[in-house]
């Protein structure tokens, strides 16, 4: 029997609940409305942050929302998942002044939540151009590109291998960052611009082919993400009970009733990125008694930010630094993660040592699709997001999608 009211499910409620309107005004009034604001420069999508915050301070929330969304149509997701502590909020002059930045992420959420509650976008699609573009991948890069192209009046078809849109927002990010089915609601919001057809369970190289898309459409955008995972390269990583963290998170995200998910009593997560943090924290929230993250280097080397590390620790995850497992052994009903002179007994071992691009077609560079100004080596094929070089953050993917759409628009002669 499903038990949505179970305390386990409550664990996955919003990690950082929305600001009240009174809190928002106080937070907004801390913004100095800087000239040449450092936060804008630090935002990968270049949102005019002082302008939108002033809108919140003055009660012009509609203006604030449009300021955000015109640069970043996934402003709602980014408000929730952006590592603001290393981006806008680190650059905030209030950080230099007193170590307490303006709460930019939370304020962005105030405005974008307001806009989504209106049930409509503040944008109107341009007249149809007759141009057709295929977007492969319905994650933040693909949908940001699709939105920007549809806005310009182009006709867009989005293909995705999964049965649902959203990419990592739907399958790969911790549930408490995207509470209340936010990822799906935001995709609906993005698609409401019109002119975008969605095709699910279409995998490139399998049910659809790049050559066919290149012929059928005027241009193709690849926002494929990273579909492969790195191997540990140690003995025992294929034992039963050893899983990829991305699969674990995807299963958790898709489970309506998380109290029914099986989780071992003792969980070991190997890795030090955001996926490792999300997997470890969620394992703990699912009820695991002991969750240990093993990372081969120190806290300063982790790609998960200090805030993320602290979040995991606050939730009871034990992070062990400078621990490199040598092998995983079957310990008769449990697993044994072995390092020099130390063993970790686990019922479940989650591997989170990075994701890799898997695919073929345009030329690669450093294992990812090579792009120059969002153009790939194939004339009418463009790419962006995690399948290309750069930081693997939602906000970077959105920027890539937005900028690639401009490149495609130009390529099509507009």
């Amino acid at each position: 029997m499903s038990d949505i009211a179970s305390p386990i499910n409550a664990n996955f409620a919003d990690a950082h609940p929305a600001l009240s309107s009174a809190q928002a005004v106080i937070a907004a009034n801390r913004c100095y409305f800087c000239y040449d604001a450092p936060c804008v420069e630090a935002c990968p999508t270049g949102i005019d942050i002082p302008a939108f915050i002033r809108g919140i301070a003055t009660g012009n929330v509609a203006g604030a929302a449009k300021t955000i969304l015109q640069e970043n149509i996934f402003g709602g997701a980014c408000a929730r998942v952006c590592p603001t502590e290393i981006l806008c909020e680190r650059a905030c002059v209030r950080t230099a002044e007193m170590g307490e930045p303006v709460d930019i992420g939370a304020l962005q959420r105030v405005a974008t939540d307001w806009q989504m509650a209106q049930g409509a976008q503040p944008f109107t699609r341009a007249p149809e151009t007759g141009k057709r573009i295929a977007v492969v991948g319905a994650g933040p890069a693909g949908l940001a590109c699709a939105h920007a192209l549809a806005l310009r009046g182009h006709d867009v078809t989005v293909f995705d291998a999964k049965p649902k849109p959203g990419g990592l927002n739907e399958y790969g990010i911790a549930a408490y960052k995207m509470a209340d089915d936010f990822a799906a609601r935001e995709v609906d919001f993005v698609l409401s611009i019109g002119g975008i057809k969605m095709q699910y369970e279409k995998r490139l190289g399998d049910t659809i082919l790049l050559a066919g898309l290149r012929e059928e459409f005027d241009a193709v955008f690849l926002g494929l993400g990273l579909t492969g995972v790195n191997r540990l390269g140690i003995a025992g990583e294929n034992l039963p009970g050893v899983r990829d963290a991305v699969d674990f998170i995807a299963e958790l995200r898709q489970a309506a009733d998380k109290s029914k998910l099986k989780i071992g009593r003792r969980v070991v997560v190997i890795g030090g990125g955001n996926t490792a943090i999300d997997a470890a924290t969620q394992a703990k929230l699912l009820g695991a008694e002991e969750v240990t993250m093993l990372y081969r280097r120190g806290p300063e080397h982790m790609s998960a930010t200090k805030d993320e590390q602290e979040w995991a620790q606050i939730n009871g995850v034990n992070i062990r630094f400078w621990v490199a497992p040598l092998r995983i052994e079957d310990a008769g009903g449990a697993l044994k993660v072995v390092r020099e002179r130390e063993e970790f007994i686990a019922d479940l071992v989650l591997k989170a040592v990075g994701q890799v691009f898997v695919g073929e077609g345009p030329a690669l560079e450093g294992g990812r699709i090579k792009v120059e100004g969002y153009h790939t080596s194939l004339p009418n094929v463009f790419a962006g997001g995690d399948c290309t070089a750069g930081m693997d953050l939602t906000v970077h993917a959105v920027q890539d999608g937005k900028m690639a759409a401009r490149a495609i628009d130009k390529f099509l002669g507009f």
Binding site: Y35, A37, V93, E97
Partner: protein, 426 residues
């Protein structure tokens, strides 16, 4: 600890902080709470003739600024709406209970001698320390020929003041309205009428805000609004100027001034004293925070006086008056320019935006090794102070005086001034 005792118009109080005639002083209950909190005196909310006036609902408007409530405040409340006898009984009682505190009674009756004579006699019998003539209320009563309607006509001010001095032994304080072009005329009239002191400012005619849904000025009374009297922190600069005008006027020398208008802290009070006030009256700050703010006013003023070496209020009362001069007396040869302390600068660029967009283009916005750097262009800076005001960091931008090598010279003698003896034709 500095001696904060004050003698104002012959009324001695242990500290110079009085509550102004207003809702906080409308009845014994409030006034007793105020005295328990430490206030040196009160001016009882204005008494009038029976039958009492009738007040409306609601009564207050307020300005929030940058999330801070009650930066400015206005009201459309009238004088006391309680029977005269009840107020007089309570005044008698309170004065008996608190002999070391000042109880001054604010009065407003129609403009005829008999009315004033009658009420003065009754007030005197309460044992009150003095009266304050309310010539200031700009709403409701003024339309009935009282309050500001008297205060705006110097002849009336003088006449009524004279009646009062004639019919009572109590000190007479004349409360002045700021809703005039020249405050000196009203103050001079009060003095000529024999006033023992003046108090100012009363509230300023105002519309606090417009309710954009109801399309009505606030406060809204059944869909309609009216102008009210503005007060609170926002009016302090206006009050300071008017107090200072009176303080520096030679013909008014020696006329005690009770400073009113936006006094919220000990520092505000110190500024009023420096410009010549003998005590201060507070209302909005108490209505915003409650009576216990007087605790910080007392210790704050005392600590500041100790730090400055002032033993008593008179040691610095009026100390800034000689420096409040006419524009014509300012030194045209003095020059100061802004200086940015780069170690304190947080790179917000507010100084640059202000100077570049609205002033003299004398700040350079630079990038040094990719980092922002704002620098004063000394030769362009006119020393206007704008950058220092908009800078959010204390002491990051300071004004530094630059020796010009030129002697003091003012506009009266300047060669560009057509009325100067040194005027030079082009």
């Amino acid at each position: 600890m500095a001696d904060l005792s004050s003698t104002f118009a012959g009324i001695r109080t242990k500290n110079p902080f009085w509550l102004a005639s207003a809702p906080p002083t409308d009845k014994a209950y409030n006034v007793e709470r105020a005295f328990a909190a430490g206030w040196g005196g009160v001016v009882w909310k204005t008494l009038g003739e029976d039958p009492p006036v009738v007040n409306v609902s609601s009564r207050y408007g307020a300005i929030s600024y940058g999330g801070v409530r009650v930066a400015g405040f206005n009201n459309i409340e009238l004088i006391t709406d309680r029977p005269l006898e009840l107020n007089l009984q309570e005044i008698t009682e309170v004065k008996k209970n608190w002999p070391d505190r000042a109880v001054v009674v604010s009065l407003m009756v129609p403009c005829n001698e008999e009315s004033w004579k009658a009420i003065l006699r009754r007030v005197e019998s309460t044992g009150a320390d003095g009266v304050e003539l309310n010539f200031g209320c700009p709403h409701g009563m003024s339309e009935r020929g009282m309050g500001a309607a008297v205060g705006q006509v110097p002849e009336y001010v003088e006449m009524v003041t004279r009646w009062c001095k004639q019919h009572t032994r109590m000190p007479v304080i004349v409360k002045l309205t700021p809703n005039v072009t020249d405050i000196l005329q009203a103050a001079t009239a009060a003095k000529n009428g024999g006033a023992d002191a003046v108090s100012l400012i009363n509230t300023i005619m105002s519309i606090c805000a417009v309710d954009l849904d109801l399309m009505s000025p606030t406060p809204v009374v059944d869909g309609k609004g009216t102008h009210g009297g503005y007060c609170g922190p926002a009016v302090k600069p206006i009050a300071l100027r008017m107090v200072a005008e009176i303080a520096r006027e030679f013909s008014l020398r020696g006329l005690p001034i009770s400073g009113i208008g936006g006094v919220s802290t000990w520092r505000d009070a110190a500024e009023f004293f420096a410009l010549g006030a003998g005590n201060v009256q507070v209302c909005t700050a108490a209505m915003t925070h409650g009576f216990r703010i007087v605790g910080d006013m007392i210790t704050g003023l005392s600590n500041w006086m100790d730090a400055k070496g002032y033993a008593k209020l008179s040691d610095f009362q009026g100390a800034a008056v000689p420096n409040f001069v006419h524009w014509d007396d300012l030194n045209l040869n003095y020059k100061s320019i802004a200086a940015i302390n780069q170690d304190l600068c947080i790179k917000c660029g507010k100084c640059y935006a202000a100077c570049e967009d609205t002033s003299h283009q004398s700040i350079a916005a630079l990038r040094v090794d990719g980092g922002r750097r704002y620098e004063i262009i000394d030769e362009e800076c006119v020393g206007c102070n704008l950058c220092a005001h908009v800078c959010p960091v204390d002491d990051c931008i300071t004004m530094v005086s630059v020796p010009t090598g030129k002697p003091y010279a003012n506009w009266k003698d300047h060669e560009n001034n057509p009325s100067s003896p040194h005027f030079v034709h082009g």
